[in-house]
Symmetry: C2
DNA sequence: TCCGATTGTTAAAACGATTCAATTCCCTCA
DNA sequence: TGAGGGAATTGAATCGTTTTAACAATCGGA
């Protein structure tokens, strides 16, 4: 059925070892043989069997990447950064979407383990340190992305979310807001918790400013909209005068809800700032202020570290932390 | 280093064949043996080697999916639909982003061929019919997504883009517009060409209505913005009074540009309608009218067809065409 | 002419799981 | 009691590639 090196070797009148050499170390083979084998390959339409190569090599040329949400441009940008960097070394990325569900996260890690991937990049949701240790014991390194590791034995590439939370709230206070609401969740997600922590710390430094916390079940537009509706329906006295959303999707949902009846106006009645600075933030009903993260660079850097650790497993883990950046647009001015 | 069936067999005191049976046909093995082998597996932390399984099986349990742009929510929704459906049969999806570049598209197809994937779903960019035929000759079926195949020997799942184009322009004309501009490109992308064709046909049926075509280099927010700036800078007499964008990303870019100086107002000065109805469309500066496509269902249906063809290669190819739906929002009222 | 080095090529042994024909064991029934 | 049958298990072959040790051929130098 399928054509193998054996067929190529027969056709070219050489041994299968030589065919392999032509593909992997052409310099070890005489020019005339290379040419002959190459012609046989073309004529037969031979395509290497990756499974066989992997079996022999002991590991695959793919990197597993698990992200929290494919619907979030922040993560797709991150994935793109990772993909580009991986391609430079001839590796490919297998993308898994955990969708903020522990079961799916585990499923992907099992899959990657079975595939003997080159390494794993993960934006963790559940508690997976055991699994990551197991992977490492098997020679598969892991790097956490968008998250500093609680377990410092793993490298991580992240953004200082506490600083980002501060940056956002500081800005809201600077523009004269006093009653701030934080919208986002679940708090089990470290990024959310950190952003909230930054917000809390900053509020604490400013007497007279209050912080209300509205927890959502997920970081999605839908959840944001629900929270926004709840805010809109309050009396003016009970409403916050500013909302800090845990990410831009939540922020867009909140914005939609506030805007819906035309009675509340952003930023006049309520200022709004998001997080991630996805492309769509600047195109929103009211162009949204946000906290920018270097998403593609996070992905690229994570791949770099992963490859270094794959090459030398004794390397000490590193924690790379990028600084976020405030982007001011109409929603807070 | 790594623990294999052989180790498990030794530990459990059975042959490797039995270990394999425990994993694949437990009913063929006595309960006590199953239990003993299972314990050995757990104790040793055995994980199946996928490469070896694949090598033996002849093909992998993954489906390759090539999409035009991961940054476009339409495609990530489609991918999610495909992933969910594939998971039901224990298959996984390997996602490749061609980024509207023929070279990348080819690279992914080569990769999938080497991986002996179960099948390929592709939203084609370049001319790949030869490659797809080759894949099929090797027993790898392919289904085109979001695109009717010019080559009817392949199945496809798509949306009637000509009808969608008509729907959009019909609506613009209904709301009193006469000078319509179509923004999008490259025209080499079939979806773009079809939407334009639908637009043209509709305009032709309405005397007095003109259609101008502005071609962009890609279907991105950036490209849309550039086109929007060009429109904004024209004199009022030369400006169109409506824009039909080939997709929502382009539309959002156009919207940003028109909105920028605050001199032009959507929909008052220029009406705007996009295509795809991505989540962000309703959250735009001016909530955008759009043409909705059942993105997740396209992905799911494509996987279904693919699996059927993989099971029975003699099946006649089918062309599934969904109908698009007009969604009216502020940008055209 | 012979030796050692160099270059090109080969044959065979992995890698780890699956599968299938062959074997063992035990039970039942005539 | 012995033949026949079913269930459980085994052993060996197989998938397609890479790798390595061994071998052959060629050549320059002594």
């Amino acid at each position: 059925m399928s054509v193998s090196v054996k067929d190529v070797a027969a056709r070219a009148g050489v041994s299968i070892g030589t065919v392999s050499n032509v593909m992997n170390r052409p310099d070890k083979v005489s020019a005339s043989t290379v040419e002959r084998v190459q012609r046989a390959i073309d004529e037969l339409g031979f395509v290497r069997n990756d499974a066989a190569r992997q079996l022999r090599a002991g590991r695959s040329m793919a990197i597993g990447l698990v992200i929290l949400d494919v619907g979030n441009p922040f993560f797709t940008d991150l994935a793109r950064g990772a993909e580009d960097k991986a391609a430079e070394s001839g590796l490919s990325i297998i993308l898994g979407n955990s969708d903020e569900r522990a079961a799916r996260e585990t499923t992907y890690l099992e899959l990657f383990e079975q595939q003997r991937v080159h390494g794993v990049l993960i934006s963790p949701f559940g508690d997976i340190t055991d699994r990551l240790h197991r992977l490492r014991d098997r020679g598969i390194p892991a790097v956490l992305v968008d998250r500093t590791s609680a377990d410092v034995s793993f490298s991580s590439v992240s953004v200082d979310d506490v600083a980002g939370g501060s940056l956002a709230v500081e800005h809201l206070i600077d523009t004269g807001r006093h009653r701030i609401a934080f919208v986002g969740g679940p708090h089990a997600i470290r990024q959310v918790a950190d952003r909230l922590e930054g917000a809390r710390a900053t509020v604490a430094r400013h007497p007279g400013v209050t912080l209300e916390v509205i927890e959502t079940a997920a970081l999605s537009v839908i959840e944001g909209r629900a929270a926004g509706v709840a805010i809109r329906e309050r009396s003016a006295a009970e409403r916050p005068d500013a909302v800090f959303a845990a990410n831009d999707l939540i922020a867009m949902g909140v914005l939609q809800a506030l805007n819906m009846q035309g009675v509340l106006h952003v930023p006049h009645d309520i200022a709004l700032i998001g997080y991630d600075d996805i492309d769509f933030a600047s195109a929103a009903v009211v162009p949204m202020s946000s906290i920018r993260q270097p998403s593609a660079m996070i992905g690229g850097t994570a791949v770099e570290i992963l490859l270094e650790e794959a090459a030398d497993p004794t390397l000490a883990p590193r924690q790379i932390v990028f600084q976020p950046e405030l982007v001011i647009r109409e929603s807070t001015s």
